[in-house]
Symmetry: C2
Subunit: 519 residues, 2 copies
């Protein structure tokens, strides 16, 4: 199979056709102008649904048959249950038992628990995956074993692709910790509670057919409903949608590494000294060890200064919930819920609000929340001297991580990458990233244990930090120091000329390519 | 203008073309099979919206101009502010000042306060209205003065028409008791609080352009948001969106008429004796005097029997809120909020849940809530011996009332019309309704002060009520008794052969025609 390639605005070679669909190359931030109209799902009628509202069918196989499952269809599932999810495999295996072939699996993200999908790909049941491919699935793709091309999208990009009709979902299978027989569903209650179900919302609206799978059927109405039964065709009861211990970790842990604690402290102090930490401000930080430590450092500074946030964005954890409880923020706007404290809070506190990729991240909407956040603290696997960053591959070029909300968050007022300058003696600061997940023009600050590099475009930040005791240094200088320690730049990845996956930008254009490994 | 007419399934002559759009005649309940796909709004991009999220513009005129307002466009507004609404006139007059002509005004309902739209129709600014036309507007239409044809839809039918692309909204103007600069909006808080904003939801999703108008701007995020800012183009601040005293009545009043109290008591006893009032049941009743009295009677019977409802449907009032507070229902599922007690409750109690015409009433969805309600108590202006009912005109044929959720509610398990057998010495029970708003096959029971008529189709109800002390009587017999009292059937309406409005059924087909008055 030969693939035509073009060089896009950031100098990356990208395919013009992916999985038989024409692609636009990345044109630069904000340069691509969409036209046309949104995806229009079929008009249904109450005449074809039970007047009792009871949409239950015996099992997933029966539901898939009623949805008219056929070869080549696209089936979507969601990652609210994280590494505890049982439903994606239940659905794909039910399809396999029905003898269906060549499915496109369209998860909002995949986890190590989904490794058995490799077997289904080998058997021909699944043709390819569009969605994050972590660990073994990423490696399978990197080694060129997948029949179609992988397509990696951000959370917002997934909404955009569904909404714009780039991905047509034939059947959405939504795992629901609570649901009623009508299909109203919620994630905050029940033995498999996971918090928000926002990642399934687009699927519920735009898919041709929607199946809700639950292990906690409640009488109508399931309150609150984040998925509306009016979009749901069938409800399937199962014994268990997943392993609660893996759905949410009991607690999330702050890093104990002195280097990483230092990075977290630098970030907090940076926000203060840059004047970002002020009354009514907002921030977002993830659930990684550095991010959690940053929240604790910032909290201390906020208390000292008597400063209160208007909102913080989750992924929510105990640390954000504590801010809410202590009155240090008015609201948590939560995209996903990472620990038990988060799940409990979103279930009970009306100030802890579930958001969706539509409200938060979709670039093809009338604005989104990500641009309203004053500062975001993110990680990366690599950052280069032009502030371009990579979250998908390491320097060996193997696809190992999804994008998540990372790209979407780059539109915050101040985007900070907080990362160690090397990992396992391999530099994280490099001349050029192996894979570009985010263009440097959107990345404002890189904070490592060896210093803080401010993007030269942000003269405002450079000005505000003048005279600071924080180790503000040119990125090139930090990079060179790291190379002296590690013995030079990382070895170039050994790759073929065959694209195995693409990295989509938030507007649906192709930002970069993942190449098959040279073996 | 000559109009082609056909006779539909219930024997009514209906036009085949309305306002230049082809129409399907009513084919019978559940007979019409929709095809095609839903209305697809244009794809937008964050690049074209302010990164700050601040979408405010100086005034409505500026906002309408930015939306590209032009002759012949459709502008929608909503009736959450009821007879206190100032925003519809602000918007239409701003359009008039911009010199725009021939608009279609598409309100979710109109009220007496909108009488000045007559002037705008006389001036050519508004071409015609599709939406309920109460009082003076209805009379204007009935006298043939409107240039286009009136189209009356139920609340669910309005959602269906927008969703199915029958009505394309160019600009939606949404009055919001609270909103943030991004356009997130809520109805439960602020000086002009009105409760749910559900009637504006379809417009916010499907209109090409959306303007939020508020007199209570709050910092982002406006929580809760019922209208999502991600669907909103512009936000306009005004001094006042309406007259709070007329937006919600302070209290809603139970009837004092002995006849009407008797009707209410009959209805409550009927529900009990028919076995509908049982643990976990549900009902809906409006805010009229009889309906409120019915709730009080039913409450007494529920308490006596130790029975609790799973949910009650609003229009919410103090009487429903009391049921919730006293633990006699798990939930209120609320479409609109009629009094201060209702507004307060929906703002504070998570068991008092805002619904929308999508969840509750849209017939072109995958089911709706209306079919899940065990019993609904409604009114009517006329009912005939075949149980067909009219809520739009009186026997003089003048268009005076909208449909509201009335048609949608007919799909409940047991539909009860509770009404006096005559009004102002004019019989309500007739041989044939002047206008058919609901086909008799969906109307199960007619309760008047002179007896209770059960639709012969409902042999199950007739069986269950055998031996009851309630005055169960044939409808024909009650009608004849009324005619003896009033001196005969009402005079036939004096009408021409020119259609001035149509009554849509919930599936978008044409159920009946309103004819110009003979003058």
């Amino acid at each position: 199979m030969s693939v035509e390639l073009v060089v896009n605005k950031v100098g990356r070679r990208v395919p013009t056709v992916v999985n038989n669909r024409e692609q636009a190359p990345f044109l630069g931030v904000g340069a691509y102008e969409p036209d046309g109209r949104k995806q229009a799902p079929p008009i249904r009628s109450c005449r074809d649904y039970p007047a009792s509202g009871d949409k239950r069918v015996t099992d997933l196989k029966a539901a898939l048959k009623k949805c008219g499952i056929a070869d080549g269809m696209t089936i979507s599932t969601h990652h609210h249950l994280r590494n505890g999810d049982a439903v994606a495999l239940l659905a794909l295996r039910a399809a396999a038992e029905l003898g269906v072939k060549d499915l496109m699996w369209f998860p909002s993200a995949s986890f190590p628990c989904h490794e058995p999908v490799i077997e289904l790909m080998d058997q021909g049941v699944v043709h390819h995956i569009e969605g994050s491919m972590n660990g073994p699935l990423g490696e399978y793709c990197s080694r060129g074993k997948m029949r179609g091309m992988g397509v990696l999208r951000s959370h917002g990009g997934r909404w955009q692709a569904i909404q714009d009709g780039e991905v047509h979902i034939d059947i959405a299978v939504i795992a629901a910790p609570s649901a009623d027989p009508f299909g109203n569903a919620d994630g905050s209650h029940g033995p498999s509670a996971c918090g928000s179900l926002g990642f399934a919302l687009a699927d519920s609206i735009y898919a041709d057919h929607v199946i809700v799978v639950t292990d906690n059927l409640v009488p109508f109405p399931c309150i609150p409903w984040q998925i509306q039964g009016n979009n749901v065709d069938y409800v399937v009861e199962v014994d268990s949608i997943g392993d609660p211990a893996k759905i949410v970790s009991g607690t999330t842990e702050i890093t104990k590494s002195p280097d990483r604690l230092l990075i977290a402290e630098y970030v907090a102090r940076f926000l203060k000294e840059a004047g970002i930490m002020r009354d009514g401000f907002s921030f977002q930080a993830g659930a990684g060890g550095i991010a959690l430590a940053f929240v604790e450092f910032l909290k201390k500074l906020m208390k000292e200064a008597g400063v209160k946030a208007r909102f913080v964005r989750g992924g929510s954890t105990k640390y954000l919930v504590d801010l809410l409880k202590e009155g240090l923020t008015d609201y948590i706007l939560d995209g996903q819920t990472f620990d038990l404290a988060g799940v409990e809070s979103i279930a009970r506190d009306p100030r802890h609000v579930a958001t969706s990729p539509f409200t938060s991240y979709n670039y093809h909407g009338k604005g989104n929340f990500a641009t309203l956040v004053d500062a975001v603290v993110l990680g990366a696997t690599e950052v280069d001297v032009d502030f371009n960053a990579n979250v998908n591959t390491h320097s060996d070029g193997i696809l190992l991580h999804g994008i998540g909300g990372w790209q979407n968050c780059l539109f915050a007022g101040c985007t900070i990458l907080a990362l160690p300058s090397f990992r396992d003696r391999i530099p994280v600061l490099v001349d050029q990233v192996t894979t570009m997940t985010g263009p440097g023009e959107l990345i404002d600050v890189v904070v490592s244990e060896r210093g803080i590099a401010i993007n030269p475009r942000r003269t405002d930040l450079l000005d505000r930090l003048k005279g600071s005791k924080l180790p503000i240094r040119p990125i090139q200088e930090i990079k060179e120091e790291v190379e002296r320690i590690t013995g030079g730049p990382p070895a170039k990845a050994s790759l073929t000329d065959r694209p195995v996956a693409v990295i989509k930008w938030v507007d649906g254009t192709v930002l970069d390519t993942v190449w098959q490994l040279q073996e």
